[in-house]
Amino acid sequence: MTQNEWLALAPFIIVSTLAILIVVVDMIRPGRDHLAAVIGAVGVLVAMGATIAAGPIGGLGGLPPEGMALFGGVYVRDGMTAFLDLLFLGIALLTILFAPDYLIPRKLPVPEFVSVLLFAVAGAMLLGGGRDLLILFLGLELLVLPGYLLAGFSKRDGLSTEGAIKYFLLGSFSSAILLFGLVFVFGYTGTTNVAEIGDRLAAIASGDAPLPVALGMGMALVLTGAAFKIAAVPFHYWTPDAYQGSPTPVTGYLSVGPKVAAFALVLRLFMEALGPVRADWWVLIGVLAAITMTVGNLAALGQDNIKRMLAYSSIAHTGYIMVGLAVAGGATDPEVAASGVQGILFYGFAYAAMNLGAFAVVAALQHRPGVTSQISSFAGLGRRAPILAVAMTLFLLSLVGIPPTAGFFGKAVIVIAAVEGGGLLTLLAVVIMLNAAAAAFYYLRVVVVMYMRDPAENAKPVDVGGWTRLGLIVAGAATIAIGLIPAVTGAALDWTLEAAKTIAGL
């Protein structure tokens, strides 16, 4: 392999080596929780450095701007891979920072947590760069298999085990459905290479022939499998149970990492492989998006448990992101289609920062074992822990989409792209706005409870651990910087657009 090829593969190699290294260190020095977290966090930062050193994004990096294909084109490092790798590594970093203060008081081992998490992130990075059905499927399994384990990480907790089993059963079932769909696509086109599938379908699509039945069946199965992974309605039933049962830092990770990674998979499959027949799928995606955000928001309105509420709200956010995909598939102007993909990437970035932050505050409140995650436990937080309450307010306002936060720009990019798309897509933009207004109710209810209710008589003081504090600073800074500092907003918009344009055919 040439030097550039090593450089292109470096981030993936670093993350997978790090996962193994932590297991080895834990074997030599068992039970060093803080040591494992330090190694994990530093290693993720090194991997981020390697990603920037490799590029090619924002004019940075040593690789040529058009990207670099490895192993005969099964793995590609281009602008999209680089952006997604940075995003996945950021998610990993925040999760590692939020975990120790929750796990250690509950006597759950941090080394295993960090190691398993890093395996999952390695899988996510394969989804970001994979251009071959085989690699994409293996990456998906490497992503979700550790996810099942993390969901059941609290072995002695019945809820955690129940959530993990539901997640595992539905997850493996949906993987099988997705695989069956991929087999149809392979059977029709005769290749597993994503770019070649696109080429062969382009030949079919140009003939004005109707969509072949088997290919349609394959698309339906792939869409069903992917909809399970991103938790789109009506394939979302596992989400609230899995999210509520999981240890809170894990819930934060599950609501962000696998979701964004599954969207990377969907982009590769639908925009690159099935891109030539996009006229046959975008309406379906748009309808699913509208149903997903509406059902998610309506269900979130009635929740008393904050983890269940955030679980349903994460379903609603899936709906918003899917609108970006509908725009990418349905817009006739390639520029608008590119801004649809840009919306997916930008929203994924903003959503990762604000949602992980919100779950971190929930985890900080549960610092001592035995504290429930009812919304009523937030009562009077404005007085009991003012800084924590301010942080939570910031994340919730961002989730609503109020300027000047990251969430506002995330929604803005998608809504503007949808309006420019015209027709049915404009209707989707209207649905987003209506949903955002409805969602404001249940997010702001938490703010009201924090500032306007008296704390319970027996409320104990909240002590926020050092790890959590550092993580909250990072998540909060990201949430506010994207919204408030024009240079950061501009860079984020440029990078996401540049990454979006590396998708074939845009």
Partner: protein
């Protein structure tokens, strides 16, 4: 007397018949794995299902893959699973399956899905359906694994490692719980 080239009346080739028989064995025993109330029987039906798959590999012209299937899945994995079942089986488990309250709906949905998938395959003319290249030599298989698909091969080993780490964590005795119990 020799057999005719194709099957009388249907025009099928004979290996199609063999394929259908093997697939029937594989899917039928897979169904019995799920439906059987006795976990040892489930394990034995799983062996039969793996055997059917090995036959299909052989029929598709990949004897090496078929041999690996027999060695690894039947020889090692199934035996290991049966041992694990025998060592850990507890009498306290429920006598009837608890997950079966929607069996009829599931059965109807499965049949409908089978019809849809079957129809979509029959109604489509697969342009890429040329004869599959058959791989007989170990050398060719080695090239496929360690050259053409080397990245996938490495990823699979990473996946297995992650599964092992996770499996050990789940199965390991909880030290802190032991202290509390002592």
């Amino acid at each position: 007397m020799s057999l005719p080239e194709t099957m009388p009346y249907t025009g099928w080739r004979w290996d199609d018949l063999v394929f259908l028989a093997l697939a029937g064995v594989m899917l039928g025993s897979a169904l019995l794995v799920v439906l059987s109330r006795n976990i040892i029987r489930s394990g034995l039906f799983m062996v039969l299902s793996f055997l059917g798959l090995a036959g299909i590999y052989a029929l598709a012209g990949s004897p090496i893959v078929a041999a690996a299937q027999v060695l690894v899945y039947i020889g090692a994995i199934s035996v290991l699973i049966l041992f694990a079942v025998m060592l850990t089986q507890s009498k306290a488990g429920p006598a009837a399956l608890v997950f079966q309250r929607q069996a009829w709906i599931a059965a109807i949905a499965s049949v409908v899905l089978l019809g849809l998938i079957g129809a979509s395959i029959l109604l489509t003319d697969f342009p890429a359906a040329e004869a599959l290249p058959t791989v007989h030599e170990t050398r060719e298989v080695a090239f496929l694994i360690f050259d053409a698909n080397v990245f996938a091969f490495e990823v699979v080993s990473l996946l297995l490692l992650a599964a092992v780490v996770g499996g050990i964590f789940i199965a390991r005795r909880d030290e802190s719980a032991d202290e509390e119990g002592a």
